[in-house]
Each structure stands twice: as C-alpha cells, then as structure tokens.
Symmetry: C2
Subunit: 197 residues, 2 copies
C-alpha cells in the first residue's frame, strides 16, 4: 500500500504504537515525527520559534452529519502532500523542512523524497527561506541536518542517471549532526543558529 | 481609505459579477477561499511568492485497506486548526494569514476568528513574520487586508467587555482594499509591497 511519503501516516496508529513501545513492548526510541513534534511544542512554549507540522492532506469524499453530534468523515483518501511537512518562522526568517528516517545503515535512499517536495524546497530557497532536510538513521539513533542547497545536487544527479541514494559518509561529511536536548529532542535551531546567525 | 496603487478597485468586481449574471448564474462571486487558492497558484507559477493553504486537519480514527486499491479513511473527524490557514515565503519574509468572509453588511463578527488563531498570529508577529487577515464583505464584493497589529486591539478589547465585532467603517479606515487582478483575484502581495518594501 502506498502512502504519501511512503510510510504509514495514520496518527492514531502511531500514537497507539508509541504507547506500546513506552510500555516496554520495544526498546526503540520515539519516531522522528514524535521527536520533532515535541521539539516544536517546546520551541513554541518557550517562544523560541513558531513551527508546526502541516496536517496530513485528506481528500474528503463523504461526510455524515448525525443529529446532536460531530460530523463524521465516512469516506476519505490520503493525498500526496505538495509541500514539505514542517514550516514556520524563526528570528524573522521563514523556515521550511522535511524529515525522514531510514532503517538503512549505509545510505539514505532518495525515494524517500518526492519530486514536488524538491520543487517546493527549491522555490522556498529562492525566496529566501531557510530550507533543509532532517535525516535520521534510526538504527544508529543519529539525526542530521542537511541544508537544501547541499541536497539539491544529489537529487538532480540521480535524475540524470546518478546514484539513487546519498551515502551515510556523505551525510556525515556534508551535513550537521543535530544535537539532542532533553526537551528539544531534535534541536535543529542550534544548527540554524550556527549556519545563519 | 488606503488605496494600494492609488486607485479604486471595484470596477473589476463589477465586471466579474456582470459576467456571471449574463451567464445566468447567481451574481455571487467565487468563494474567498477559491479566489485565494487561485491567487496563490498564480503567484507560485509566476515565482512571485510561495504560499499554500494548509490542509484541513482531520483526526483519523479508522482506515480500511482494500486489496489492490487505495486506503480508505472510513471514520474521521474535523479538528480545530491551531494556526492560520495560509502561510509561506515572500521576498525573504515569512507571511501568515487567515481569510474570512462575512455576509454581514455592517460589521465583521469577531466570532469568525478563534482564540488560538489569534495567539498564533501574535507569536508569528513577534518572530518577525508578516501577519494579517483577509476580510471579505461578500455582499459588497469588497476584500480588505487588515494587518494583524491593527486587529489585535479589537480582539483584546472584546475579551474585556468590548464590542464583539469590528464595524465596516473601521475596516475601511484601518484596513487596505485588496486590488483585484484578473489572475491574482485577491492580489494581497500588492498591499504587502506597499506596507513593507
């Protein structure tokens, strides 16, 4: 089954499975999405930055309106997102990013990102937004910040017969490790501060 | 009254509605949302600004996975949005706005806006984003740009027993009419250019 972003994005199920994990069914960490959402909440609460995840786009086909209770969507479909998942404002700048985790231990497969998302990132970059990818190698628990401008040549090369992935070594070399902070678990603002301010 | 580009813009609306009348449809225009979506598409296609409407937030409760076809959401609920509906980047700045239309002829009822949206707009403004409301009086076909900073005092006053609405006259006086452009039907960038650049 194909989902936008090539992963299941049913939030209810993710919440369910993270509950199971915290109850000791697995010792894996939180998902990258959960970590970033917690980080953004911390940033907002401390008034450091205003960043939100965009809602999952749903094509709503049928809605039932029961008497005396909330409208129920009875038929809907997942749509492909046309932008990145996260955006907001930090220190007067627009910031915009996509976050992906891979279980691959040696490379980040470019199939994780969609063509229209790259087009969006190129546009945002052109208009002066701070644009980047957050890439997590979940087996290592390592999370990297890759500036969009660094990412674009790899993307463009694979369209012209180049490699379909970026090696772990390249990401270590060209990217920036994102520090872990006990409340900002993916403390990407630290990297932005270093790169832009 | 403030006029970006120093001219009135209502003759274009008359043209639009008389065209519809001649086709035998009602003389109501497109919805404000449709007009803004078309405007944003035009801006993106011309590479003027990158602005998107956020997807409607849906709480997904049940998904059915049929064989050989797309996943179907069979139970979902509308969630209250925690941000404004539109954001993006323009001339290196983060922009963020909410759009509302009213059939009221004399005032804009503040009940159209939610508390958490105002909180979001205050935060975005504090972090240097360009933040505003687009308010349409649909009976007049008039659409106004109201800077968030101008809006906040009216919002705060009603919380302290003040008026529950902003009068049409106040919006005319403190806001900016948004010019109609035949492709950018709600050409709000013209107002931003005038105010910020």
């Amino acid at each position: 089954m194909h989902y936008p972003n090539g992963k299941k994005n049913n939030h209810t199920y993710q919440t369910l499975s993270s509950t199971r994990r915290s109850q000791g069914f697995s010792n894996r960490g939180m998902t990258l999405e959960e970590d970033i959402n917690a980080t953004n909440t911390y940033y907002r609460d401390r008034n450091k930055a205003i960043v939100h995840k965009k809602p999952t786009p749903v094509q709503i086909v049928n809605v039932h309106y029961p008497k005396r209770s909330a409208a129920v969507i009875t038929e809907g479909y997942f749509k492909q997102p046309s932008t990145t998942d996260y955006n907001g404002v930090y220190r007067n700048k627009h910031i915009d990013f996509e976050a992906k985790e891979t279980k691959n231990k040696t490379r980040f497969p470019l199939a994780n990102i969609h063509e229209h998302q790259v087009r969006h990132m190129k546009s945002v970059t052109k208009h002066g937004g701070i644009c980047f990818l957050i890439i997590r190698f979940s087996n290592f628990g390592e999370t990297f910040y890759m500036p969009a401008e660094v990412f674009f040549p790899y993307w463009d090369e694979q369209l012209n017969g180049g490699k379909k992935s970026i090696s772990y070594e390249t990401i270590v070399e060209k990217g920036y490790p994102i520090p872990f902070h006990y409340q900002a678990r993916v403390h990407y603002l630290a990297v932005i501060d270093q790169l832009y301010f």
